[in-house]
């Protein structure tokens, strides 16, 4: 596990034990969640036999599939918007000079610096004051705003390692700005854009606070549904649902990491903000 070691020292063994203990702590609740999705009893506290019926019920629940569709739709649109706006902005901001630029740049970080509840409350107050009807549009706007800084940061991190001379060379050789952006800049920052998009999408799928402020009575997303079910007491269906999401997520992350080489740097670029 360690570079250039012949024999493990006591210190290294202690380190491995410590790592294992913390990971066990992280996975005990996960194991409990998965185990209880197979629990025969509706009352979630006691184990009373193995069953698959909650998975069957889940797949027959048309309302849940509808909610799942809405959640995917919101996450997809918000991710596309955030990636588009933040990528252009991160590239453009390097050379841009205009009054108030610093304020704008700092405000882009607001959604991660401030608790989500502050952003949710602020957007709710603005939309209602401006006479907007809450609904799909306001949820998408809220989610996009929340995702903006994550894409901005990951793209900016890629730009730091990029030599501006390459872009200048392209322009000097007669390529126009659009061509240069598409053929020089974008391929260079591509991994950052993909990481940002990936992270945004998984963030938006799990987004609860801002969405709950900006939603109307007729729109429910998966996290809102899960939260309202949890408050009534978790049923094995929720455990089954989360187990499925957990496995899908794990598969997605694994595929992504295997394609990109499994290093902490990539994980850092795809990390989710709390």
């Amino acid at each position: 596990m360690y570079p250039n070691n012949q024999k493990k020292t006591g210190k290294q063994i202690a380190g491995e034990v410590y790592t294992a203990l913390l990971l066990i702590f992280i996975y005990v609740p996960v194991g409990v969640m998965i185990a209880f999705s197979f629990n025969n009893s509706r009352v979630n506290m006691v184990w009373s036999g193995f069953t698959l019926k909650y998975y069957r019920q889940l797949f027959q629940d048309s309302e849940l599939w509808h909610i799942f569709g809405i959640t995917l739709f919101i996450a997809l649109i918000a991710t596309v918007l955030a990636v588009f706006i933040a990528t252009l902005g991160a590239v453009g901001f390097r050379k841009a000079k205009f009054p108030g630029k610093k304020l704008i740049e700092q405000s882009v970080y607001f959604p991660i610096v401030l608790p989500e509840i502050v952003l949710g409350a602020a957007l709710l107050l603005m939309f209602t004051t401006a006479g907007f009807t809450l609904g799909l549009a306001t949820i998408i706007i809220g989610n996009t705003t929340l995702l903006l800084p994550y894409v901005f940061i990951t793209v900016k991190a890629r730009l730091v390692g990029m030599d501006p001379a390459i872009e200048e060379a392209s322009l000097d050789l007669g390529a126009d700005r659009f061509y240069t952006f598409m053929h020089i800049t974008l391929p260079a920052i591509g991994p950052g854009v993909v990481s940002g998009a990936f992270m945004s999408f998984s963030l938006a799928l799990d987004e609860l606070i801002v969405t709950s402020f900006l939603t109307s009575a007729d729109i429910t997303t998966l996290p809102i549904k899960v939260y309202s079910m949890v408050k009534k007491g978790v049923t094995p269906e929720i455990n089954a649902l989360t187990t499925i999401i957990f496995l899908i997520c794990m598969a997605g992350v694994l595929v992504y990491l295997i394609r990109n080489g499994m290093t902490v740097r990539h994980l850092k670029q795809t990390q989710r903000g709390a």
Binding site: T19, S107, P115, V118, V226
Partner: protein, 290 residues
């Protein structure tokens, strides 16, 4: 020649507008203006049926100082403090151990740490209800071993809230600590030891000061969301404990007192912005908070 240059600058202008326009417009419309509206609303009065009356007042801010809300603030700070302390004390060694592993292994460990958070942390947190309940797994286990005589009350206490919060935020706090420990030049540690400092002295005089930006980032990443995150308190704290996040959320939902909710949110935002300001003044980068 001159004409060509003019044309180029005009084109450059258009491309600058296309690139920067969307993010400028979006930040003004959906970040700056909403925050401005929030601040203005916090000085307004609550009318009947939750309607906002545009009569400026300081009453909302005065109300926050009343003892009823003082308890909520104290509770929030206590829980956030213990969560943050636990996160840094347990997360720092974890980050240090990871930084000594080969990139491939540290990647896998980090992945194992992050995945549960990537997925709905909400339902996983609920597993603690099953674990901590009076008749839950932990109590049953402890009773069977004979460590305790009767089930101990763990659920719906500050203890269960802190464990839940720690579970939720520890993975994110490990990342900045890991980056700063990894950046540390091992030659400095060796130099310190060569000059006669013992491991403890080296840790406190060299390692700790040089990795403090990572620790501060971890503190911010735990403390901020902890205070505003009302779900864990809701689920594991029962009705007994309330944090600032719960209070704000209630003002916007059950109590329908939006101006007061806005004032609470403004105070929360102000406290956090001050913390972030100190962090950036000390040389921390906002990018590390992502």
């Amino acid at each position: 020649m001159k004409k060509g240059k003019e044309k180029k600058t005009a084109k450059a202008k258009i491309s600058a507008i296309v690139m920067n326009g969307p993010i400028v417009i979006w930040s003004v419309l959906f970040i700056l203006i909403p925050v401005g509206v929030l601040v203005v609303m916090s000085f307004m009065t609550k009318g009947p049926l939750g309607i906002i009356v545009y009569r400026p007042t300081l009453a909302n801010y005065k109300a926050i100082l009343s003892p009823v809300y003082g308890n909520v603030v104290r509770q929030s700070v206590v829980i956030a403090f213990w969560t943050t302390l636990l996160t840094v004390l347990l997360g720092y060694p974890f980050a240090a151990i990871m930084s000594k592993m080969r990139a491939k292994y540290s990647g896998i460990v980090m992945l194992l740490l992050m995945i549960p958070m990537w997925v709905s942390g909400l339902v996983i947190i609920y597993s603690f209800v099953i674990l901590f309940n009076q008749s839950g797994l932990i109590n049953t286990l402890l009773l069977k071993i004979g460590l305790i005589r009767k089930p101990s009350k763990m659920l719906y206490t500050n203890f269960s809230v802190i464990v839940g919060m720690f579970y939720m935020f520890m993975p994110f706090a490990v990342l900045p600590m890991y980056s700063s420990i990894e950046k540390l030049d091992p030659a400095l540690i060796e130099a310190s030891k060569d000059l006669g400092a013992g491991p403890v002295r080296t840790f406190f005089k060299v390692t700790l000061p040089l990795t403090s930006p990572g620790i501060f980032a971890a503190v911010i990443l735990t403390f901020i969301p902890c205070i505003g995150y009302y779900m864990v308190t809701d689920m594991l704290g029962g009705g007994t404990s309330m944090m600032a996040g719960n209070l704000i959320y209630r003002q916007f939902t059950i109590a329908s007192n939006w101006p007061f909710g806005a004032a609470l949110a403004v105070i929360l935002a102000a406290v956090i912005l001050i913390m972030v300001l100190i962090y950036t003044r000390l040389g921390g980068s906002l990018d590390d908070l992502g």
